[in-house]
Subunit: 331 residues, 2 copies
């Protein structure tokens, strides 16, 4: 760590939505008390670089390519955020690609960091913040998933995230890195366009109506799910980079707080903020394939560990919608 | 699967203690109703081959070497037992070796089986029984570990086992294999000599006195632990090879039954079977290093899933000692 409370930061997946939200947070708030000395954004395509009070370097590449993990390790960033992944649907359709990109490349990163740790005579031991996901859980569930519930993923994506969590914990226990894995809720309301993720509609039913577009709701409005805003996701990551990991006592994987609500409650929150005419743009069109996937997803959590460690999120879906309106809705 | 209720079997780690106990079980009892057509024993050193009512082939090699996983897959065994691993203490001292042998090579095996599945036009889909361990769990624990307790290993060995469990589940969910992972209790009373495992004394305090030797007890006799005999371990494996995995509902990892007792209860069981003079050969010699390891180990479980699926084990430590006397004590 730099001696003067200044941190160098490297974000793998820095071009993605969450990576860019994290960068904005670093620009506006620094890192929970530390000053940002520099940021390196690493992604498969060249990431966007906004104006910032610190230098921003970018590099496009793939962690799977020879030498790339070593290049990242050689930067000796104080804090590395590992956000890179292909999404759940992609990993499910492309088995080999999913295991390569979401699991093998993370292992290569950890191996490169271990080698750098040794090369530094044990001095280099970066904080690694790994963005995991509630996809590590698979149905059936208790009403609320607690902090000690087992991981039985029902997607390859979830299995890949769970595997990397185990490795982050073991490399940390051995002192090669100072790692923490945080299991993000579904991040809504995502800005931009709909994507191919089965979860896309959770954002779409709010975002599209607010933008004057029709939105498709492919599941029953009784479906309950676990949400946090992009702002909260960035906050989780920044906080995870700053806490004393000794408090984790060799259990460096945390379920993040979130807000549990049904689709009907999402819609009522939209109505209370934007009115009936906006809500009328949501069209029900049940999609059995999406319904089958969504029914195996977590619905609610109890997250005392993360809350005791200072992680916080929205407490109403109205708040989550307001984050989208504040940050991303074009006037 | 062979059409005539005859199974070909391949045992990776077939030269080890549990592999040989499994082979004995196959010789004596077949495979829960199926006839054994042939057995291939695979191990790093040439395995022992007793007389048997079926042909036994052997091969020495390492799963990590080029082509070895493919060789195994090409045998198209109906049932593959994957028992190969380096022990906990070895994996803890040799980080890279542990991850290579206990995790990377298992992944290579799964990849070879997936390729064979594809090459067979989807016909070949072997039952894979993976021997996992209660080392996937790390303290703190509830009084009894239930079927849905999370895996927070405190050894690299445990993390490696947990990683392979995730992969066995995902490759099975996708239909490439028909896999099941069983988490074995500590297997006592192990025959043969003491080994370097920190758990070695749990067997040693019974075995050595029965063989006229002094035994060292390196922990307090209040230490509670979770035991099953080698005979039970072989029975778990054979049963796991035979059950209908559809009943597992995409949760193909099971905590095995066992018997929970303190070291004092082990010693009293020995006294009731062999008398005071034998027990007097146990010498207390506290070893802080072993005590520190053992205090993070599971002590007791509640295993309703495995019991409902027909897995059974001893119900007293006397029974466990009698298995050793029956099977392994030289007269």
């Amino acid at each position: 760590m730099s001696p003067d409370n200044t941190r160098s930061v490297l974000i793998i997946g820095g071009g993605g939505m969450v990576g860019q939200k994290l960068l904005q947070r670093l620009i506006q708030h620094g890192l929970d008390g530390a000053t940002i000395g520099s940021v390196c954004l690493y992604d498969i395509v060249e990431p966007a670089t906004p104006a910032a009070p610190f230098p921003i370097e970018t590099r496009s590449g793939s962690l799977l390519d020879d030498g790339e993990a070593q290049w990242i390790a050689a930067q000796r960033a104080d804090v590395i955020f590992h956000l890179a992944a292909i999404v759940s649907g992609d990993a499910e359709r492309n088995f080999e690609r999913g295991w390569d990109i979401n699991a093998r490349s993370s292992w290569q990163l950890l191996e490169a960091l271990r080698a750098e740790h040794h090369d530094s005579g044990g001095q280099y031991r970066p904080r690694l913040v790994f963005s995991s996901s509630i996809a590590v859980f698979g149905a059936p569930f208790p009403d609320k998933i607690g902090d000690d519930f087992h991981t039985t993923p029902l997607t390859s994506y979830g299995a890949q995230k769970a595997m990397t969590e185990l490795q982050v914990a073991d490399y940390s226990r051995k002192g090669f890195i100072d790692g923490i894995s945080i299991r993000l809720p579904t991040v809504t309301v995502r800005p931009g366009k709909a994507n191919l993720a089965a979860s896309s509609f959770f954002s779409g039913i709010i975002r599209e109506p607010l933008n004057g577009l029709e939105a498709i709701l492919p599941v029953a409005d009784s479906v309950r799910h676990w949400h946090a805003s992009p702002r909260s996701a960035a906050g989780f990551l920044a906080h995870a980079a700053s806490i004393d990991t000794a408090a984790l006592q060799n259990r460096p994987t945390l379920n993040m707080p979130g807000y549990s609500c049904t689709v009907a409650e999402q819609i009522e929150a939209l109505r209370s903020i934007a009115g009936n005419d906006i809500v009328a743009r949501i069209k029900q069109a049940p999609d059995p394939e999406i319904e089958a996937i969504v029914k195996n997803w977590p619905r609610d959590f109890d997250t005392p560990r993360a809350r005791a460690l200072g992680f916080t999120s929205e407490t109403s879906y109205e708040d989550i919608i307001r984050v989208y309106i504040d940050e991303d809705l074009q006037p």
